[in-house]
Amino acid sequence: MSEFDDDDAGSADKLVAPGLSEKALLATGIRIGTPVRTKTMEAFTARPRPDGLHIIDYARTIERIDVAGKFIAATGAKNTVVYTSREHGAVAVQKFCELTGAMSRIGRFMPGTFTNPLYPGHLDAELVVVADPMSDMQAMVEAAKLGVPVIAVCDTDNVTDDIDLVIPGNNRGRKAIAAIFWLLARSTLVRSGSLAEDQAMKYGIEEFETKVEEEPKPDDPEERISERRE
């Protein structure tokens, strides 16, 4: 993840959540968008960086994560399906669902998952959350057929058609997607009354991260083991 190359890297003293400083949150790349910005994402972006990447107004990310947390809490996490087709968000979605009790689907979206009650993997969704509307479109198509509302993490280049609640954020980076789902888990738990505002969650942001073998951390023995397995 590229460092944000100006003096606006966030404060180390300002806490966004217990144990998470603004600086640490911004270091995940949560607000780093893409060179493209769609019309509907304009409202969530602050300014382009000198290298042309659009920067997401992360205050709006936080604000929307909180609204999404209320939405999930009011619907009931157990009635909510969280889907990601892509590997880099898999752990974030799994951990989110473990902590909140939401249902998870990862990888290929089997046709009929929402629409066919006879399909063995059928899920009864009252609310759907997707990590990327572009790659997770199949789940959105089935949600639309049933009139099920959709929350989506949207990057600056995402089209927001058929989405009922946008969470603006970098949905391409492993660390960023981990941060978004970690904050969303917190908000969902706090809003449903099962976590106090100042209480820490069972997992830290790092534990929401999908580790990839191409980027082994030298100090992480597990990574080194998986590297040797290659």
Binding site: T40, A68, K70, L127, A144, I151, V159, D164, L165, V166
Partner: protein, 60 residues
């Protein structure tokens, strides 16, 4: 209201009545949960703005 008529919900964005066959969506306001927001198939498709009459929240 005379017998046999139904009141169709109105789309929050375009204010048109929503037909039963339409692939519309409705949900309680994500922010305050106090009002029901209906979005017509078209308005949802085109990402048109909706606004909660209770809390002023604007989506999507």
């Amino acid at each position: 209201m005379s017998q046999g008529t139904v009141t169709l919900p109105l789309c929050n964005s375009c204010n048109r009545p929503i037909k039963p066959a339409e692939r519309a969506v409705h949900f309680s306001c994500p922010n305050c949960h106090e009002t029901v927001i209906w979005r017509s198939e078209k308005c949802r498709k085109f990402s048109r703005r909706y606004k909660c009459v209770n809390c002023g929240f604007e989506g999507p």
